[in-house]
Point group: C2
Chain length 166, copies 2
Amino acid sequence: MYLHLYVKLEMPAKSGYTPVMPRPLPDQTIAAWAGLMRVSQDLLTRVEADLKTAGYPPLAWYDVLLELKRAGAGGLRPQELQARMLLAQYNLSRLLDRMEGQGCVARRPCPEDRRGQIVVMAPQGRQLLKRMWPVYEAAIERHFAARLRTEDAARLGRLLAKLSPR
Amino acid sequence: MYLHLYVKLEMPAKSGYTPVMPRPLPDQTIAAWAGLMRVSQDLLTRVEADLKTAGYPPLAWYDVLLELKRAGAGGLRPQELQARMLLAQYNLSRLLDRMEGQGCVARRPCPEDRRGQIVVMAPQGRQLLKRMWPVYEAAIERHFAARLRTEDAARLGRLLAKLSPR
DNA sequence: GTCTTATCTATGTACTTGCATCTATATGTC
DNA sequence: GACATATAGATGCAAGTACATAGATAAGAC
């Protein structure tokens, strides 16, 4: 369990009975972790609330629609959507059910793999994406950008990039 | 809706029919927002998975227990917990139901306010907190700290602080 | 004191998510 | 081809979360 920590000690285990005793995390690291969890949750809650107040669905819908728009006419396999959105397979399956029910996306059979399907943008989805953006943008401005100069945002982005899913 | 953006244009509206046209967010800001949402979700998922694999409950339990430990013998009112954890009132109520059911916390009547209650640490909770930490710490190390030098973590922490719930 | 309004917490109901597993198809082995 | 195994996506059921609102007490207006 601790091997990856142990390695960082950069000194050999003295003997067979030395207990595993990883170097504890620096306080600054713990504080950064806690800050990341807290701030991201807080901001997400606020932005989602703004969207809901304006009568729009959750951000996950926006993300699906944006990916589909980027994917163009060829659409996307659910698996690709799942990977890009870091969403569990069964959650995506049901999210697509709901979005399909609202006419936002369409599922089409996949010629190359008959187990699969291709998800494409539908008219309601295109419209929803376009209408949601101003509200979403204003929420990002209000809750996020208003507190961070652009250079700080850029710095934050670079730090976060180091933490990105590889 | 856009007033707060409009103000930032630092120029007067020319006439009554000038459409509201906020300055769009800089790409770097949008990228930082997207990175924040994506990275935090990814890391949270990974860390929660490590905890679950080790047989432990979700992080929210840890957070409650940590707050109760810090609060000491006097315990905390649910409202205070709610504010510190950024948790909805009804979610906390039910979280406490579950934790109480496992003997991790106890609810006691509040003498000053008979509508309220005081939540205190219970023996199982104290033990759980102690046992969870090494697993939690290792998960933070593995998924977060291992990708970020301590100085970068400190920088990240400072940037996030600017975004903190005020 | 009485009444109105606000606050603290709980809860019925609906919706969403998680887990385990299913069906169908694909791929690999012999 | 026959079989075992793997992969794509759906789904029954349990657990958790959201919304609206309830019940109890408190605080303020008069």
